[in-house]
Symmetry: C2
């Protein structure tokens, strides 16, 4: 008998690699916060001794979700304004709300609420894009989550920075201070092609190359953006970025609802990652990312919920489901974007986009112990002919019972371990009162 | 002080009529299973005395959902076969499974599982379409639910009937026996234009007129169906039905993913109801019902989940959300199919399609006490700027805490009161074993 820190005995285990595999009655042995073995439970019980043993008899265990695009603090604006046109929504609702509220306290409070929601719904890692990245990183560290914190840079004046130059300087300052721990990396977050001119893009590119920093950017979110690019620069925004040599495997192109065959070639040749946010794109009628085409071109594609101000939640189950359903319709093929495809996008796809596929995104020996347990023995997920189908097409995120990140249990039987849930709810209500009194 | 049977004190109350209204701190007084008053809680506490009082301080109370198209017993096939083309799915998976399993025991077991899921997710009334309608009606009566039970009639031989004539005779027999109680009505369920010839349609029409029976039918589900109709009858299926004088306010046209302007005119002139099943349509890449156009033409439109074999759940929250998101994309307008629109479709729209709008579908004095309570004080639905937005865009169906039908409480603090949940789960697993051993 060998000693390990933790043993997880699961009814089903979905390792993601190999693709489309479901293991029955398998176990994970964890030591020093890493997966040391995956083996049949009958063997695990003979081979390993552990202090912490979790018997998950009704559960499927799989890698935690990687929410590859979100604006977490905006969760405090959830449902503030819906069913509006993009510019009406931004100019008359979201931007005034931001001017009235964006400060370090808002960021900290919004992060608590967002991380509570993400953890309870099985997200272990997220790709952030908002103001005050240093404060965000601190919040992530306190909660024990994994994240890539994008440092937002845009030319439009905001409560955080008056110019893109100022935002860039703040990003450099943040990098100099460094990340609070090894679960958190910073990335550069130019808002979009239309909100960043060539000179700042070249500075961002240079810094990204020098420090090997990832770049997190909205690209081709709407048809209007592409038209505007054609008018101003006489080329599509992605083409403009290509000519600046901005496309690379370090870049995450978020949205890409407008994707021509030429665009696909540019993404493919450069190794750029695509992040698909289907629910936000539908809600704003922005268009549909051609997921199947992108996948067939061998381009990596991940899934993001976008911010809760637009979506209106941070639920990767819902986003996977919508990605699968919408992908079939867009491809006009019910076999397109299968449950297996979108589950891979939501885990390994995100890990690859964040250059973390050596650590997370699948359950394999040597990878970090970042995984979740989902109880399928509920009336809406029985019978279980195929756990992957059930997860994508039938499951509620509330069926997540346990969440581990780097071996540490952050959700235990549906209870948060590092965030006070009642405090989050009270905080949300208090910000609502403030924002409503400001109207 | 006046005595009533029950008082519900709600943080928020959404009556549906008047449209888009949210009442703060309001109460419902119920007597003899009917709503006798809706008034501010402060007044209700002065005016009424009741033995049963429910203080729902974090909850929104609204009419129960009307799932206007489903095949409940097929819930036992949930996830049996996914990501397949329609005919592959039907011919190689669903039909063989039906041949292997359809019998009264299967119907009873499937009904238990389906009704458990519907009740726990806030559905109080459903529009059924499957074999053995007499057994289905009996199950519905035992559970205390409200339903319109469609008696399936089709020319294709099935384990229930060899011909449309035989199915029609069984329907007449079922009508002669009568419905088990006043919450249950029978309707005629011709499968589709392609699976029913003119002679049986004329018999169905005659019986519908004589006995004032509703008709529940799949119409224009796929482009293929319309093409087939054009080849065989040299007209679109809806046009063929119109010429048979089959369209009327008694008809529910389910799916309508292929809807020309001429089709809209036919629906409008005849007062036919449309039932929208967005998730099933997407999953089979059947097409998209033009909801906004249909609504603007003044045609009543309801929402159905379709059967769990295709969808793969019976969750009206998810279906509303998808209806809202997809509707915007199809209309290319983010203000289309608002949260208010889809909530109305999921309640009052369904009630109208079932000719029950005098009894259910809104909270009004004199209507039946069919309503649900949803706890919005969860991390995924705070803050609550607008309860209607939260219900449609952010809420999980697991936030439904209490369900009443005709004044009787069928779900109490998330616990089923008339169905044994653990028995449902065991039954589902036992059918899974049977069906898998049969493969």
């Amino acid at each position: 008998m060998q000693n390990v820190e933790m043993l997880i005995h699961a009814r089903w285990l979905i390792p993601i690699i190999p693709r489309n595999l479901v293991l029955d009655y398998h176990s994970i042995a964890v030591n020093h916060n890493k997966i040391v073995s995956i083996l049949p439970t009958s063997e695990a019980k003979k081979q390993y001794h552990a202090d912490k043993i979790h018997e998950l008899n009704d559960h499927v265990v799989l890698p935690g979700f990687v929410n590859t695009h979100t604006h977490s603090p905006m969760t405090l604006f959830r449902g503030l304004a819906d069913d509006l046109k993009l510019m009406d929504w931004l100019e008359n609702h979201i931007w005034p709300a931001e001017v009235a509220s964006i400060n370090p306290e808002f960021i900290r409070d919004g992060m608590q609420l967002a991380m509570a929601e993400m953890l309870l719904s099985g997200t272990t890692c997220f790709n952030e894009h908002y103001f005050y990245p240093d404060i965000i990183a601190q919040c992530v560290a306190e909660a024990g989550m994994r994240a890539c914190v994008g440092m937002l840079i845009m030319s439009v004046p905001t409560p955080y920075s008056q110019t893109a130059e100022e935002a860039f300087q703040k990003a450099e300052h943040c990098l100099a201070k460094g990340s609070p721990n090894s679960l958190i990396q910073f990335s550069l977050g130019p808002h979009s092609p239309y909100a960043t001119d060539d000179s700042i893009l070249l500075k961002i590119k240079k810094l990204s190359e020098e420090m090997n920093l990832l770049i997190h950017m909205h690209i081709h979110e709407t048809a209007d953006e592409v038209e505007r690019g054609l008018k101003e620069y006489h080329k599509r925004p992605l083409q403009r970025l290509a000519e600046l040599d901005f496309l690379s495997p370090r870049l995450q192109a978020v949205h890409m609802t407008q994707t021509s065959d030429e665009d696909i070639k540019l993404l493919q040749q450069s190794g750029t990652h695509v992040v698909h946010c289907p629910e936000g794109n539908l809600k704003l009628a922005s268009g549909c990312c051609p997921v199947q085409k992108i996948r067939h071109a061998g381009i990596n594609i991940a899934i993001g919920t976008d911010g809760a101000a637009s979506n209106n939640n941070l639920d990767m189950f819902g986003e996977m489901r919508t990605a699968a359903l919408l992908g079939k319709m867009v491809a006009n093929d019910p076999t397109a974007t299968s449950a297996t495809d979108v589950l891979e996008m939501a885990t390994l796809g995100g890990a690859k986009a964040l250059h973390l596929e050596h650590e997370i995104g699948s359950l394999e020996t040597g990878k970090s112990a970042d995984f979740i347990a989902v109880n399928l023995n509920e009336v809406n997920t029985q019978p279980v002919y195929n756990p992957i189908s059930q997860l994508v097409y039938a499951c509620h995120s509330t069926q997540v019972t346990d969440v581990w990140i780097a071996g540490k249990q952050l959700v235990k039987n549906k209870q948060l371990q590092t965030i006070y849930q009642n405090q989050c709810l009270a905080i949300a209500q208090s910000w609502q009162s403030k924002l409503e009194s400001h109207k």
